[in-house]
Subunit: 151 residues, 3 copies
């Protein structure tokens, strides 16, 4: 029998794939922020302002696009990281593979849609629904982790 | 013999339980922020302001309660995530179960008290002591991880 | 044969060591922020201002050093956490130990240099290169995780 936390376990394999998608998406927000900082000539640090052609440029924190990307990135960190951490424990509870698969896919879809809602932006409550869907999936995994770990 | 990172290991089971408490608490700060944004009519995005009855509402970032909750949430992310990540390695070092149990409980208690101190708010240095207790527990686990991994 | 996620696996042992270095460094930014808040008499909360001798002190968010440390801390959270999470899956793919070792060391070096660049501060693009190096290492691990998990 394979270890529960190894690629010999199909639930772990699925978890690695969907976690990878959402962590990768979160990580990409960093270089995307850099790209918009450069194209919008908006920096947080004195030494970064030297990258601009405008030699009198000062740090500023009010570019609408850059701040929107940063809030989206922050929301990812606050939601994706708890999903992956709870997910590791959840996989260790040996859930039904079909249920696990639905939860992982729903979470990944909710986070990609959340980013779309934030970046377009789409009218509320579309983003709010995506956010709550993600929290709900993580909550469902958390429930099983507590059931198993408090036995 | 069970795997060290599985519910067959009582230390892992305890770790899953107390990690679950603190990750769950961190995750809940998201919907709590949403609740106070709605009840205080304070939003970060133009499209969110349409949720308000006041059609001339603009994004604002100076609501004392919302900003306090956000700082508390941020402090959770900065402390709970390192605890859980170091904790996984710490459980893999096969620590004495009694010591592990004390560390996990102390950390969880320190973070719930930290939130209470932040939200009431209680006079300093109560919050600072809770913060340092959490850092100390994670530091103690880190010490064992370094001792084991640098052998 | 040992479990892949245990200290019996030399790749896991190396991963624990280098992850520990970068998580520990991230965690330390918290107390360092506290130290500079106290020495610069700069606080975010009304109740913290009572720690000051100046009884009329108000919360403020414009101390250059404190805000710089906070941005550095935030950048750590946004990059170190994805590295460790992808790293767990990456170790489970059973990579060549020599390749894994190079990736872990490169990441750790890039993050310590990133902090040095941020704190001195060194002229750009030094910090930007460190940031992209870290993202590149995590991306390389992510690539292998996707190859293995989508099979």
């Amino acid at each position: 029998m394979s270890d529960v936390l190894s690629f010999g376990n199909p639930v772990f394999q699925q978890f690695a794939f969907y976690s990878g998608l959402v962590i990768g998406k979160t990580l990409l927000m960093g270089p995307i922020t850099s790209f918009f900082r450069l194209s919008h000539d908006t920096y947080s640090n004195e030494e970064d302002c030297k990258l601009s052609k405008d030699k009198s440029l000062k740090p500023r924190f009010n570019d609408l696009t850059v701040e929107r990307i940063r809030r989206c990135h922050q929301n990812d960190v606050e939601n994706v990281v708890p999903f992956v951490l709870f997910g590791l424990f959840y996989v260790a509870t040996e859930p039904y593979p079909e249920v696990a698969s639905i939860l992982f896919r729903t979470f990944a879809a909710s986070r990609f849609l959340h980013t779309a809602c934030y970046m377009v932006p789409l009218p509320q409550p579309s983003r709010f629904v995506c956010f709550l869907t993600g929290v709900g999936v993580t909550g469902a995994m958390a429930f099983r982790v507590f059931m198993t770990s408090s036995m």
